[in-house]
């Protein structure tokens, strides 16, 4: 097989250029492609459109790219906890498109499954529906939402093999499998890269056909955004807000 294995993020993203549209896997800081993000920052590409559920925090994840003004437009479902993001948004430097989380995921799925558009009830009757086609099926209204197009999808998996097959760990799976399917070029960074034939074919989350380049990542920080622990019996909820996010 044409070798999908590259040495590192530098080689994987060599042809990633200014102005491109990227998908970045992860939910919050969980399961984000840390090595790829660091390389994007090092490389200094700019004018990027980033499709990602969140925008990281000030000093980690996509936040690092925001600090260097590399992002032109952010497409996300929730962008809290990022002061630099807030500053750029208010100053008009950064364009933001907020879309429902399920719509975000399903527009990725649509791309990976060759479906040009999907119907979802999310956002009907809200400002999300503005300018969009509404259609009624079985008495319920749905929005027509288009599949995403992304030049690169950057995903992080737990284990991967040289054929590009990927397995994710726990909730670090999140958006990674659907974005892996959706990139014109999909780059996977993995905590452990193994020879093909090592992984159980029945346990592959992302078949290698969707993955164009794969590399063994390094120095994973895997930062925890909300460290919550059980000191007493039961749950210990310290932050309770009436917020939806």
């Amino acid at each position: 097989m044409i070798n999908k294995v590259v040495k590192n993020a530098g080689e994987a993203l060599a042809d990633l250029a200014d102005g491109m549209t990227l998908m970045l896997g992860g939910f919050g800081l969980c399961g984000i492609p840390e090595n790829c993000i660091n390389e994007l920052v090092r490389k200094g590409v700019s004018g990027l459109t980033c499709i990602s559920n969140n925008a990281g925090v000030d000093d980690f994840g996509i936040g690092l790219m925001l600090q260097k003004r590399q992002v032109k437009k952010m497409i996300a479902s929730y962008v809290g906890e990022n002061a630099e993001f807030e500053r750029q948004l208010l100053s008009g430097e950064l364009e933001v498109e907020l879309i429902p989380q399920g719509t975000l995921a399903t527009r990725c799925l649509a791309a990976g499954y060759g479906m040009p558009a999907i119907f979802t009830p999310a956002g009907v009757g809200t400002e999300v529906a503005e300018g969009k086609e509404v259609r009624t099926f079985g008495g319920k209204d749905y929005l027509l939402e288009r599949a995403f197009e992304a030049d690169f999808a950057l995903v992080k998996a737990w284990r991967g093999d040289t054929a590009g097959n990927l397995m994710y760990r726990h909730t670090a799976r999140n958006f990674n499998p659907v974005m892996a399917m959706a990139g014109k070029v999909t780059v996977a960074e993995v905590e452990e890269l193994v020879p093909e034939g090592t992984l159980d074919p029945d346990q592959i989350h992302t078949p290698g056909i969707y993955v164009h380049r794969i590399f063994q990542g390094m120095n994973y920080e895997k930062r925890i955004e909300q460290r919550t622990v059980r000191k007493y019996e039961g749950l210990d909820i310290t932050k309770a807000e009436d917020y939806a996010g």
Binding site: A76, T171, R227, V229, Y243, A244, G245
Partner: protein, 219 residues
């Protein structure tokens, strides 16, 4: 008048054995503390988990295991992990029996606003729009009156909407309401302990309906 824990406690009584439940951030999360011991409930976390357990003990936090509020959590026996498309797929297909979420405003027709305050920084709707548009059974947990003393149960929402005609039940610090989505109106079905119908009526800006003998809630 209930505190947040009280609201959570009351909502927990809505949960039935075998339910799959999605808990939003805030008061809804507290509900997990009051699920009766004798029933089995599976918590869905929309970032891709069924079977969410309590927070981990200190030192055993796993960065690969968080809930939709980005908090470190654990998995219970029988858990299943899946991607975001399947997670919202099962939400959209109404496989989740009960969704509990917070709100800033609810209208007498069951519209809800909980994601955006014009003039304030908008963080995003996360999964809220998907949840309210799809769930067959939603309970809103909210404060009925804001800090300025104004009701948040309104004839119509003033804030940008999260969803329309989707909320049928609201639990507040004062009461439990059922909403008549067809004709409009908050129907008082339970009073918080020691709270009078008049007090509740005064704290309800939308159309209000109550029998003379609305019972106090059990907690």
């Amino acid at each position: 008048m209930l505190d947040k824990e009280g609201i959570a406690k009351r909502i927990a009584r809505e949960i039935k054995d075998g339910y799959y439940v999605n808990l939003g951030i805030g008061i809804p999360t507290l509900v997990a503390n009051y699920i009766p011991e004798d029933i089995d409930v599976v918590l869905q976390s929309e970032n891709g988990l069924l079977g969410m357990g309590p927070f981990p003990y200190e030192g055993s936090e796993d960065p690969d295991l968080i809930n939709a509020g980005k908090q470190t959590i654990t998995m219970l026996p029988g858990s299943a992990v899946f991607d975001s498309a399947m997670s919202f797929g099962m939400i959209r297909a109404q496989k989740v029996d009960l969704t509990i979420l917070g709100a800033m405003e609810v209208s007498e027709y069951g519209d809800i606003a909980n994601w955006k305050i014009p003039g304030k920084l908008v963080k995003g709707m996360g999964g809220a729009m998907d949840l309210v548009a799809s769930a067959k059974n939603i309970i809103v947990a909210m404060q009925q009156v804001n800090k300025a003393g104004e009701s948040k149960l309104l004839p119509r929402c003033t804030l940008p909407l999260t969803g329309v005609r989707c909320i049928r039940k609201v639990v507040t610090e004062l009461a439990v309401f059922e909403i008549d989505i067809q004709n409009g109106g908050f129907h008082l079905i339970e009073r918080a302990p020691g709270v009078s119908i008049t007090e509740i009526r005064n704290a309800t800006a939308g159309r209000f309906f109550a029998a003379d003998d609305v019972p106090e809630m059990r907690l």
